[in-house]
Amino acid sequence: MGEKILMKGNEAIGEAAIRAGCRFFFGYPITPQNELPEYMSRRLPEVGGVFLQAESEVAAINMVYGASCAGGRVMTSSSSPGISLKQEGISYLAGSELPAVIVNIVRGGPGLGGIQPAQSDYFQATRGGGHGDYRTLVYAPSNIQEMVDLVMKAFDRADAYRNPVLVLGDGILGQMMEPVEFPDEPPPEPVAKPWATTGAEGRPPNIISSIILDPELLDKHNWHLMEKYEQIKKKETMWEIYDPYGAEIFLVAYGTMARVARAAIESARSRGIDCGLIRPITLWPFPERAFDELADRAKAYLSVEMSTGQMVDDVKIAAAGRAPVYFYGRAGGVVPSPAEIVKKIESIFEEIKGGSKRA
C-alpha cells in the first residue's frame, strides 16, 4: 500500500477507478456526486483516458453501453433521479452481458426529492431497477477506504461476470473526507474480451444485442443469466458481523447507517443492553448466510435505514421467521441519531426480555 492521503469520498472513487484501469467515463451533473465527474474530467486526460459530459443520464449510460461493447473499462455515476434515468440502459447492459460500473450517490426521493443523504434506492438497486429478469452485484461501502477497495473490485467483478456492477454510496460518504491508501501495484492487465465489437478483421463478425424474439430462446437466455447470478450469490456475497459482546439483538445496517449503528451499539451497552451488527457489504446478493450463522442466539433483528423501510424486507427473508424483525428509519435526508436507535433498541429489549437488563 502507498502512503495515506486525505480524500473526499467522491474523488476517492474516481482515483480508485483510474487505478483499477478505468479509462472511460460518461456522466451528467447532479448533486451530490459532482466531485466525481469533475475529478474524472481532470484525471482521465492525464492517463490517456476519455471523460465526456453527456447530454443526459440516458445518453451517458448508452455511451457506457457503447464503450463496453468496444471492450473499454468504463464507468458512470449519478444520484437517485439520474440513476432512475439510467435504468433502461442498465437493463440493456445486463441483457447483452456487458461489464460496467455504475455509482449511485443516493439522495432522498421520490421525484426530485432532496439532495441530502438517503438509502431509499435499495429496492431499485437490489430488485433490478430496470425491466426484465436481471440482477446486479451491489456494493455498499461504509467508509472511504472501503469505497476505494470496492470500486476497484467492482471493475474486476464486472469483467469476470460480464455484468453491470453498482456501487451504492450516499451524500455523506461522497462528501466526507477520510484518510485512504491506494495499492501500489500497477492496474491489472486488461482482460481479454474476444466478444467485443472492434471490427471483424480476420474473424467472423461479433454481434452484441439483447433482442431475442423467440420465446424459447429468450427463456433459455434468462436461465443462463440466472445461472450466472447464482454463481455471484455463491462467490461474491460479502458481509461483516460486529459482535464484541456476544449479543442477542442484532442491528442490520449498511453504508453510513452502519457507522451510526456502531455508535448506537456502544451507547446501548452503557445502558446495559448488548447488541451486535450485521453489516451487508453486498446488498445484492444479500448476506442471508450471516443470519444462518447467528440463528442459534439471535433473539431479534433491527433493520436501521435512511429510508421508510426497504432492506427490512430482505432481513425478514433472511431471518426466515427464526427471530422477530424490527425496523427503524428516517427518510428524506434525515440521518437517524444513535439516541433514536438506542430508544428503539430499548423498546425491543423490553418486548423480548420483559424488561430485565444486564446487571
Binding site: M63, Y65, A200, P205
Partner: protein, 249 residues
C-alpha cells in the same frame, strides 16, 4: 468472363425480412458498397436501432451492436471514443432518430462526433404498424393520425438534415432518395462521402435517405416510389446541406 455485378462483401447472404417494395434493402446495399469501396470493412462497427432495421446486424458481414430506442448515436459515441481508429456508423429510422432519439442525434452532431449516421426517413413508424412519425407530412394519414396529421394538434414534420446542418460539428449532411437509378447513384456517392468525412476525421456526417413504406402507406411499391417524389420531396428537398470541402451550410 468479366463480372459486372456482385454482392458487396460487407452484405451478408441472409434473406432480409423487409416488406416487398421497402427500400431498406437498397440502402443496406449502398452502405455495404461504401464500406467495401473504402476498404474499411474489417474495422467498421455498425449500430442498429429499434424499428424495422433492428435486425440490420443480420444483413451485414460487419461487427454490430443493437442499441436502445433512439440511443444509437450515444452508443456509437461510446464505441468511437474507445476505438478512435475504427469506423462507426448508426443506421436509424425517423421515429428512432427524430423523435425519441432527438437529443442524442443533436448532441452527437454538436460534439462533432466522428461517426456516420444513415438516417432512413419514410415518414411513418413501420415496425409498430404505421403510426405517426416526427417526419409524417401534414395531412398524411397514419394509424395515430387517422384524419391526417393536423398541424394544430401534431405540429409539423422535422427537417433533420436542415436542422443538423446548422451545427458546426457536422462535416457532411446530405439528403438523398433511392427511387430511380439516378437517385440511387447519387445516394451511393453521398454515403461514400459521409464515411470519408469520418475516416479523414472531419467530424459528424449524416445521410438522410427518403425511403418507402408501401405496407403502412397503403400503396403498391411503384405508387410508393412515386409518392416519395410527389409528396415527400417538396417537404424534404434533396441536396447537400453541409460539406466540409465547400464549407458552410
Amino acid at each position: 468472363m468479366r463480372k459486372l455485378f456482385e454482392r458487396p462483401k460487407s452484405l451478408a447472404e441472409s434473406a432480409q425480412h423487409y416488406c416487398p417494395g421497402c427500400t431498406h434493402g437498397i440502402i443496406h446495399r449502398l452502405v455495404a458498397e461504401a464500406v467495401d469501396e473504402l476498404g474499411v470493412a474489417g474495422r467498421t462497427v455498425g449500430v442498429s436501432p429499434v424499428g424495422c432495421s433492428v435486425f440490420a446486424y443480420n444483413y451485414f458481414n460487419l461487427d454490430f451492436v443493437q442499441a436502445a430506442h433512439g440511443r444509437a448515436p450515444a452508443v456509437a459515441t461510446g464505441l468511437k471514443r474507445v476505438l478512435p481508429d475504427r469506423v462507426v456508423f448508426t443506421y436509424q429510422g425517423d421515429g428512432d432518430l427524430a423523435s425519441i432519439g432527438a437529443a442524442e442525434i443533436v448532441h452527437a452532431a454538436a460534439r462533432g462526433e466522428k461517426i456516420t449516421v444513415i438516417f432512413v426517413n419514410n415518414a411513418i413508424y413501420g415496425m409498430t404498424g404505421g403510426q405517426m412519425a416526427p417526419t409524417t407530412l401534414v395531412g398524411q394519414k397514419t394509424t395515430t393520425s387517422p384524419y391526417g396529421r393536423q398541424q394544430e394538434v401534431a405540429g409539423f414534420p422535422i427537417r433533420v438534415s436542415e436542422m443538423l446542418s446548422t451545427m458546426e460539428g457536422a462535416a457532411y449532411i446530405a439528403r438523398v432518395a433511392v427511387i430511380s437509378p439516378q437517385t440511387v447513384a447519387r445516394a451511393r456517392k453521398a454515403m461514400v462521402k459521409a464515411f470519408t468525412a469520418q475516416i479523414e476525421g472531419k467530424g459528424f456526417s449524416l445521410v438522410e435517405v427518403l425511403s418507402t413504406c408501401p405496407t403502412n402507406w397503403g400503396m403498391t411499391p411503384v405508387e410508393a416510389l412515386r409518392w416519395v417524389e410527389t409528396a415527400m420531396m417538396p417537404v424534404f428537398p434533396l441536396g447537400v446541406f453541409r460539406d466540409w470541402e465547400v464549407g458552410g451550410s
